[in-house]
């Protein structure tokens, strides 16, 4: 398992939201590229970048910031937010993004999910953003009637290799990850899992790592880094 620092972009700035609430944002930097560079210099081996405006509106909005980040770092970047058609995914891959994170469109449109996975295979990460066990869409502003586990199963059946599992109630709340849900997911699926939401302390991360869930390959860490609860170096030490 590796720690994956998150850079969430809104209006070109690095922000954190509380439980995905766009009204509860805190701005951490006006220079996403510098933030990315700092994470890379501290030893991060992968970055998780989210275009929050894109997630909300369905159209890529922070491409300039993404470009600036890609210019600054050599470590692979996964990107989500506003990827609702294959051409947009193509353009991000051509910009240098390594993995594309699909959420809203993938859960609302089974045909799109199938087509996207057939086109890009391993380069897609399917985001299962769970609120009370159900998938949320459109920048987490809408709740669907699709069960998180069912959606993950469907994605796995269509050939998804990696699932990003986010517990929305914990995101940005620093209350610890949803260990039970992760155990269930890890037990039920063979595909790789990236855990997201709630890591607030080095202890949280340690607990996650000590579960030794072999298919949990990464943990997204956002606010805990920005609030300096621990460093990337410490996170890597705990994870390995």
């Amino acid at each position: 398992m590796i720690p994956i620092p998150a850079i969430d972009l809104k209006d070109g700035k690095v922000v954190r939201l509380l439980r995905g609430d766009f009204k509860q944002e805190k701005i951490y930097s006006e220079h996403p590229d510098r933030v990315a560079k700092a994470f890379a210099e501290e030893g991060a081996t992968r970055l998780h970048v989210v275009d929050l405006d894109g997630a909300l509106t369905g159209r890529p909005t922070n491409q300039r910031s993404v470009e600036a980040i890609l210019e600054q770092v050599n470590i692979p970047v996964e990107l989500g937010g506003g990827l609702r058609d294959l051409d947009t995914v193509y353009s991000y891959f051509e910009m240098g993004v390594r993995w594309a994170v699909l959420g809203t469109k993938a859960c609302l449109d089974g045909g799109f999910l199938r087509e996207a996975l057939a086109e890009f295979k391993d380069r897609l990460i399917i985001a299962v953003d769970a609120k009370d066990g159900f998938v949320a869409s459109d920048g987490w502003t809408k709740k669907t009637n699709l069960r998180a586990v069912e959606f993950a199963k469907k994605a796995e059946g269509l050939g998804a290799k990696t699932i990003l599992y986010t517990d929305i109630a914990r995101d940005g709340a620093l209350v610890g990850p949803n260990i039970d849900a992760l155990k269930t997911m890890a037990g039920e699926f063979k595909l790789d899992l990236i855990a997201s939401g709630g890591v607030g302390s080095l202890d949280d991360l340690k607990k996650l790592s000590e579960l030794r869930l072999s298919n949990v390959c990464g943990a997204i860490i956002g606010k805990a880094f920005y609030e300096k609860k621990f460093s990337v170096k410490e996170a890597i030490a705990v994870c390995s």
Binding site: E67, R98, E115, A118, F120, K121
Partner: protein, 205 residues
């Protein structure tokens, strides 16, 4: 059988579909043994040159593809599959490619929107290229790329396209054919190219 090589860089189902529509017998594969047996090879792909070479190496596909090209097996490179034919790319600090075509792959510079994305036309530079049989002056093709090839030996240049500057948008010599644009996303004009490739004789031209 035509092998469409899956080396982890995507651009697979759309290419497979286009070849099926053109009547080709295709197999999307990452298996080197299938690549070795293929009558023709298609290398699609989108994204970074360095990553692509890394993925090809880790699947032990560099050698079999190189040998097939040398043996005169018809090869169609699409987008990354064109760029990888070149000796090196500026991306990721001078990564080496297959080296079939001497010259670098360079990033667009200046005040251009990158990637170059959308429809654009071609100027045919080399008469008789089997891929462009039937291509008309007013045909448009779909591009999405941030880098372009610069063959040192200009006799490789099959077509050029303008985006800020004129660049080489397709190459051809013998049985090696490759396009910077995506024929599979270029509607009827693109399908014609795919059909032309499917209809090529299986051995060296």
């Amino acid at each position: 059988m035509i092998a469409i090589v899956d080396y982890g860089m995507g651009n697979l189902r759309s290419v497979e579909k286009a070849f099926e529509n053109a009547g080709g017998r295709v197999c999307v594969t990452a298996d080197r043994r299938i690549v070795e047996r293929a009558e023709k090879i298609v290398l699609p792909g989108v994204g970074g040159f360095a990553q692509a070479m890394h993925e090809l190496r880790s699947r032990k596909l560099v050698e079999p593809i190189s040998s097939k090209i040398k043996a005169g097996t018809p090869y169609l490179g699409i987008c990354l599959g064109l760029q990888l034919l070149f000796s090196q790319s500026d991306e990721g600090g001078k990564t080496r490619g297959f080296g079939v075509i001497p010259g670098p792959v360079r990033r667009f510079t200046g005040n251009l929107k990158i990637p170059h994305m959308g429809w654009n036309d071609l100027t045919l530079k080399k008469p008789g290229c089997p891929l462009f049989k039937g291509t008309r002056k007013k045909d448009y093709f779909y591009f999405v790329h941030s880098y372009y090839p610069e063959p040192e030996d200009r006799s490789w240049v099959a077509t050029t396209t303008r985006y800020g500057r004129s660049f080489c948008s397709a190459v051809w010599k013998g049985s090696v054919l490759a396009t910077q644009f995506h024929p599979e996303k270029s509607q009827e004009a693109g399908l014609r190219l795919v059909r032309n490739f499917v209809n090529l004789p299986a051995l060296a031209l």
